[in-house]
């Protein structure tokens, strides 16, 4: 899932500036699961902003609403009325949700209330960890199901750097070395030969480096046309 965390309240206040009526829009998908931008967080944020604005002596009218999926037009279409009434929209969806709202309501100021952090999973209660960097050309098949692009601090493809020590990455005490994990798993599976092969220079053109990406599925387009 997409993992995000809320921006500091002061930063959000700065973004809102003089706006009088603010609509906080939560999202019911990934950011709900990571407790950053669901309905509960939207409610708490709205009330914190109301309170803060009262303390500052410039009370704002802050309300909140949550949609099931902020990244799809069908789900944000019904927000038209509420959005019309607000000076600004504060999205606490991921960066995609913010942009979907801004695209759908181009006249509105849409602001981000979260920092979208990474694609990952909850590893234990209250801890989320990155797992994928969406490189567009998945190599998990040769790395024992552990991603060195997202999880090695140097995106190495041919084994651990010299800084790997005791299972920990050289960058710090809590980050496991991805290559130690890869080694351990392949060793246990008797498949170490996979990482003994030279992994050639990666084609990064499928990654962000190739420019904004887009997938077109002609089969689905044709099916949609046929249905019309």
């Amino acid at each position: 899932m997409i993992v995000a965390e809320q921006k500091p309240l002061d930063e959000i206040k700065g973004l809102l500036g003089e706006a009088q009526t603010v609509l906080v829009v939560g999202c019911g998908t990934c950011v709900t699961v990571c407790f950053a931008g669901g309905d509960k967080e939207a409610g708490i944020l709205a009330s914190s902003l109301r309170m803060a604005s009262r303390i500052d002596g410039t009370p704002k009218d802050v309300t909140h609403i949550t949609v099931q999926r902020q990244c799809e037009v069908e789900y944000i279409d019904p927000l038209a009325d509420s959005i019309r009434q607000a000076d600004v929209v504060l999205s606490i969806g991921c960066g995609i949700g913010v942009q979907a709202l801004a695209e759908r309501y181009p006249d509105k100021v849409v602001l981000p209330g979260l920092n979208t952090s990474f694609l990952g999973l909850p590893s234990e209660q209250g801890v989320w960890e990155e797992r994928c960097a969406a490189c567009g050309s998945c190599i998990l098949g040769v790395t024992g199901g552990i991603c060195p692009i997202a999880r090695c601090a140097k995106q190495l493809l041919n084994g651990p750097c010299g800084g790997s020590q005791g299972g920990v990455c050289e960058i710090g005490h809590e980050t496991p070395c991805a290559w130690q994990l890869i080694y351990d798993r392949l060793n246990a599976q008797g498949r170490l030969h996979l990482i003994e092969e030279l992994q050639p220079a990666k084609d990064w053109s499928t990654s962000r480096d190739g420019g904004p990406r887009r997938i077109t599925r002609e089969d689905l387009r044709l099916a949609a046309e046929a249905a019309e």
């Binding site: 050289e170 220079a201 990064w204």
Partner: protein
Amino acid sequence: MTDLPAASTNGFKSGSRLEKVLRAGHFAVTGELGPPQNADPEIIRKKARLLLGACDAANITDNQTAIVRMSSIGAGILALQEGLEPVIQMTCRDRNRLAMQSDILGAYALGLRNLLCLTGDHQSFGNHPTAKNVHDLDSVQLIQMVAGLRDKHAFQCGDAIKGIEPRFFIGAAANPFGDPFEWRPIRLGKKVKAGADFVQTQLIYNVERFAQFMERVRKLGLHKQVYILAGVGPLKSPGMAKYMRDEVPGLDVPNHFVDRMTAAGEGIDKEDKKARNEAFRREGIKIAIELVQQMRQIEGVAGVHIMAIEWEEAVRPIVEGAGLFPRPEVTAARMAEPAAQG
């Protein structure tokens, strides 16, 4: 060591002094020169003069520990002008494959002949922790690219080089003490397969463990395919020894060296800092000499790489103390214009 594959064209892969020393079967000595965090050429010249004659070639570090310094190639040219043969270090952290290849062409055109391919320390260690890191290639892929430029006359993309190709003596690094320990010889094997001609190891203090590593290396036959230079560095003080033991990832400093360094200062008035420092440094050099001698006994070790950053004066006494002075004469590499004048 003479059973290493014969090189092409003129008989040498690069014609560097380091290559010739190793090919002739001498026990090689490389040093290390850290460029300054400014643009002062005198600093390089001074350090180069300290190392000249004490080693066959000296590594010029590339933004070592992710701190911005004079470029390795720029400083390397200055060293070459002083008569010291540089080993240019190149990390994958700061440049993508385009920048690396263009720098490699430039470095060769200026007369540089040895290139050490490295991953690079993470930028969070240095003075620009908010920087974006590159890692377009990893060190194994960098070696492959430099070997391709030389042996296939082709850029990384496959396009042929029309004209003079850069012919470097290709170095790699190995950390025998990095984890997973059992896999380190395999990783070294990957670097050899990628095209490394020589390998310099991380600083070694735990000789026993290094000997285990070398045993595995010999079993894989790697010592017959690549020249292995064991990393040795003089300890400066008990504090440095402790710091290296406890804080530096990938280093293994046994306690008895910490104890020896501490004992070296005993009996000297704590207030007499100068006398204590001198005693520590004498002991550090003594330990380094012993380490060099122990490395020489290990089958498959073709030389030592002496790292005495910011203490370049130490290299000469270590080399002398280990009986490796004077360094052998070999016909130096053909030098480019600036070097010929220097």
